[in-house]
Symmetry: D2
């Protein structure tokens, strides 16, 4: 039998750190013995636990300790991280440590260095001279870069429950199912967005085509006009839908004012052609060809627009990056500083954006598909809300709630 | 090879009768030869086709002709129906003709007798003396009753497209998907309901618990108050939810005004207990214990309330029939004379009610589950609309649309 | 501010009792102070916590303590329960304590009495003379019966993680999503069922119509033949589908051997008629009219068959209770002694049965709808597994896994 | 009132051409008068109809005639197409004719020229000298290219029902719902694939990650080994999953042999890193690093592998085109000559591929989401089947069905 002693610190009970650690130990068929435990008396107090973990093989113990680290466990013996050079450009050394989106520290030369930025699905590159650690993606790495291997010396600090204030994001279960009431959540979300504005937060929306198609665009426009949106992430198709609606009043040729009279793809393709002819969205607004719609509102209100392409697109709007690796770099850049994200009616983009978020970004996902909602928010525990509903009533109610008070008023 | 000649009459092209007949013939591996065909020049004109159908075996031909009859085919040689006595109470003779919900005639003694009412999943009992035919369920039949066997002499007349007017129900595809615009359909539905009122139609709602839980109850109450609802079909659970909301302001203990603060079943059970103590819904209204909510509105506005039970119920409200066969009889009775049905957010009740509708009842189904919507309306071709959406935005928009004009105003 | 001190005992960390209690306190806007805490060093050791809870109003505190009790909290001051007489037959006194399905004790005359059986959504009737407490439904209660009111003196003991053995049911998250591998879970479930047989457990299946329609019936028959099923709960419609398949080889008239050749309801209705003519399932088997299928296997292998009706049924099979309250009584009776339940492809019946289960019944739910699966198992924490998949591959793999070894062999 | 006379030819009844045309006319609020009609007596006979269409405005008539053309209508007066030059590279002239995926002819200089290839969502470029017409995408067009504008002179020939043989694709409704039997369809599909092989058809699979994750990979490998797959289209993520499974036996770190023991993203990222280090899939096979799995089978059996990227990818495998416009060109090229496509468990790729298919490509879509299935096959009427089910039982049953006979044997 092989043993190692780990330590946990913080709000380890109510942020579920200790229960998750014990669950992982049991799930992996290992045993535990709690050596010392100190539970904070009040909400603001820190707790502490020292646990001896025992597994049958050395490999099983190593695998388990890696999992426990991701829930915030530290080993008692603080060793330095191991490093290995990247064998070639774009390739990490074997056994590289795979990052999570949680706050992470590495121990080097006896000191704890924070890995910046926190980013999922990368490696950690360490700069010995600058004593700096950064999370890197494949495209970031050059031959010879020193990369953390194994997990020794890595310390993850999971997001914990705030002690100051219980906002709507900080519950254990924050899914609102299709048949549950949503008004209270939407209203509190409105208040949170107001607070965010006052605190100079940055709010991003990830927008799916259903917003335009179901006629919810006007509500999103109101949010933009009221100054609640700083960045808008969407697919090329979303942009084309919005332009089609603005130019022709239709969605895939269907006039929303005429029930069951289907249209064809003509207007959609022509909208795309028009923007291509203009040379892009901003140019189309400038030329007064695009005079309404969500994109128009974005240009007018200086919302940063990040459009990306997929193999389903009928053709790119000028200026859109068609290379997905380039697009990811741009998205990552544009997500820096964002404090709140609304993921609205688009699985594909929501998952892409969600995988790039820092763990403290407050995240709301709205979709009619409950599985999609769960997945989109699973990496933001204690920071996310999922609502299973149509995107139209959500946006309408949010816009109405925000319109009642100006963004600068107190809550 | 075995052949039989069939005839089709009516709007056999645009009501899809001829195409469906040819599709059935091909699907069954049989062959056809069109003997005579006359296509109406204009929309109002009748068409006619005489088709010789050939199959490999006599049984296959018989099975095929049965299917074709259900699409409106008549055999050229008009024979009388065959009859056999019911062998005992509640049991039909072998090979009894199984009814559809389409208008059906039987030939007896050389005359065509209409089967009344048109009702699915029953048999046809013929009264020789009265020369009357009626569709009967198992529980309707007594030993010795004369029941139609085989399908000779049976003539089905499918619903055809109206020639006078194309309303929103009369399209081939009337499903509105989750990401399609719904406002135009809801607005036209509102106009249809206004027309229905003026024409002394009867409108029924089949209501699921999500209406109460999502807070859409107020919109349904407005419809009731404006006089648009004549009958309300629901489960016992719907009633208890509405009472819980009215008495305690909660749904399954959850206060819709407090985000994520879950409740328990206590208020739900206590609401049920209160109604049981009162002796029923009407009594609770009379005693001024139940002073708001949908059921209260039903009692006040004399909406006929049909509540049924299921094995999931926590206990019956007094007056509710707990026997499902009895409940079906009551439902059938209460659906007589109904001209429009809204099936809202409840698969179980929608399917039950849908199976009892005459083919001319205009039917709207609203649910977040597209498969459920499709099934609920499949027996009402050219008379139904399906909307895949939350029930809350649907009811809100319908109520707003109807509130703009009084029910008695012209469209 | 109002305070009360509660105590928690048992595996309060890894069974999530303490975290859930703290979460409830925070969610309700209350505060806590942990007075004393003792955490068991090893898995088998008990833990203990004493917590002072403070809320703003007396009512809020009372509501909160009720919630905490349901997670296993006891108040320090052990008072006797309060009792009130039932005002009339079938009606509980106001403010009756609403039962959960967890093990529950009431304090009466200074002694703790266990409420038997543990049953959800009822009240607790106390017999002073016998010093016995039982959970009662509305239909169980007579005028004057003494019923527990409020929640003083009630002590709930939630199911905790076993200390002896970690079986597949005892994880915090036991949902297997549509795109996750299922073989390992199914194989371990097979081993669990083998163990159950050896330990004289009782296994019940709740069976939906999709089992018959998708052709998975043969796999269920194998389970029955191998002796793994003791009770089968299903709807009347399931029975009729199985008979139709046995008599005609079709499902709703559709021959599974002929692609896309749809049938009609005729065979379905005739199957029902045949069983009615025979006088029931057992009679049809005896008369050698029903010679194959699931029901036939049930009769041959003496599986207890519990069929219930719904308003969607086309007509009851003889012997089936058509009254839902009566049906619930029979179901409750037939679930006594059951140790394992498989809920297969039927939301309606699964939810009904799930609401009647003791908290220790190991429960597996299989359905293509993830929301349905979650709801069906939510009342069986640490005792349930949910698999989002078609019921056919699940049953096939389970039958294959069990066929590899005889039920009497060791694991 | 404005009128135009149109003509229809072919199997206009059983291929639903005439009914759809009449439905469009009614839906658009227009009127019709059938001038001449000749219905083929037998299945192989052609039919003909001449119809005068009347609409209220010239624009409405023009819009309607465009729709009718897409169902195969020709105007009686055969005019030449109108042409306009592309205003700049990558931009079509205003009012360009938007192509469908149906066989299309343009009339130029009094002659009918077929547009090749048939391709959706493009324009038609006409080469006067070569008298050739081709469908072009935005990226195909150069400044000054002559492009068809309006719809005059365009003639669409929709796919019609074969007269020789009714295969499983040629039914009006070819959706198999979750609760319907699938064996017969899968068996007939197996026979179709055998016929396809003998006839030198080309079979493509579009593969989603669920195939690997649910353990269905082995069945797909068998299909590859038996020689039934010519091309495999998938996302980068599918490839990484397959490599992770091959190298580590896990999927997202989860060992399919250990129930509920979740893993992390480490193995996934390391699998990706390994392939990057190798320099690609083929190199990894050559170096004997990748020795099993689907990609390995593809390399060994010379299946053409087309991998594309999305913004959700964690990093591209070497050799994968990261530019989506380039990727589309490659996909289009690799789809040339394909006669059968299986779209398995991936909405995103299925929709992308489906939009590039010629109308005669026989298409099968399998997914657990019924809406996705419907959309993936909607552009292949009379040539497609949709099955709502898990991809695992589908692939297993198909592989078993094909393994029973060798691909070269007769059906």
């Amino acid at each position: 039998m092989f043993s190692e002693t780990i330590e946990l610190r913080g709000h380890i009970i109510d942020s579920l750190i200790l229960p998750k650690v014990l669950d992982q130990i049991l799930t992996h068929g290992a045993a535990f013995k709690i050596g010392e435990i100190k539970i904070g008396q009040k909400r603001a107090d820190q707790s502490f636990a020292r646990i001896e973990v025992t597994a049958e093989t050395s490999d099983a113990l190593d695998e388990l300790v890696l999992r426990l680290r991701q829930h915030g466990a530290e080993t008692v013996e603080r060793a330095n991280v191991h490093l290995a050079p990247a064998p070639k450009e774009g390739v990490f050394p074997n056994d590289f440590y795979v990052t999570t989106n949680q706050q992470t520290f590495v121990r080097f030369d006896g000191k704890e260095i924070e890995v910046r930025p926190a980013m999922m699905d990368g490696a950690i590159a360490l700069d010995r001279k600058k004593r700096a650690a950064r999370a890197v993606k494949f495209f970031d790495v050059d031959k010879g870069d020193e990369i953390v291997v194994g997990h020794q010396g890595v310390h993850v600090v999971p997001v914990q429950r705030s002690t100051a204030h219980t906002d709507i994001f900080q519950f254990i279960n924050t899914m609102v199912d299709a048949d549950e009431p949503k008004s209270a959540v939407i209203r509190e979300l409105g208040q949170e967005l107001r607070r965010a504005r006052r605190a100079k937060g940055r709010i991003a929306v990830v927008a799916g085509t259903a917003i335009v198609r179901t006629g919810a665009g006007e509500h999103l426009e109101r949010l933009i006009e009221m100054g609640y949106i700083d960045r808008l992430f969407a697919g090329n198709a979303f942009a084309v839908y919005d332009v089609e609606r603005a130019l022709f009043g239709t969605a895939l040729g269907q006039d929303p004012e005429r029930a069951f009279v289907g249209g064809g793809h003509e207007n959609h393709l022509r909208a795309l052609n028009t923007i291509r002819a203009c040379g892009g969205i901003a140019a189309a607004v400038q030329k007064k060809i695009l005079t309404r719609g969500i994109l128009h509102a974005c240009v007018k209100h200086k919302v940063d627009l990040v459009l990306t392409c997929s193999i389903r697109d009928k053709g790119p709007i000028p200026g859109v990056t068609t290379d997905v690796v380039e697009a990811q770099k741009i998205m990552r850049e544009k997500l820096a500083g964002v404090t709140h994200v609304l993921l609205l009616g688009t699985v594909q983009h929501s998952m892409a954006v969600a995988s790039m978020l820092a763990p403290t970004v407050k995240t709301v996902c709205v979709d009619i598909d409950s599985t999609a909602v769960e997945r989109a928010v699973e990496h933001q525990p204690l920071q996310s809300i999922g609502l299973v509903t149509d995107v139209e009533p959500f946006l309408r109610e949010l816009a109405e709630s925000l319109a009642k008070r100006s963004p600068t008023s107190n809550t």
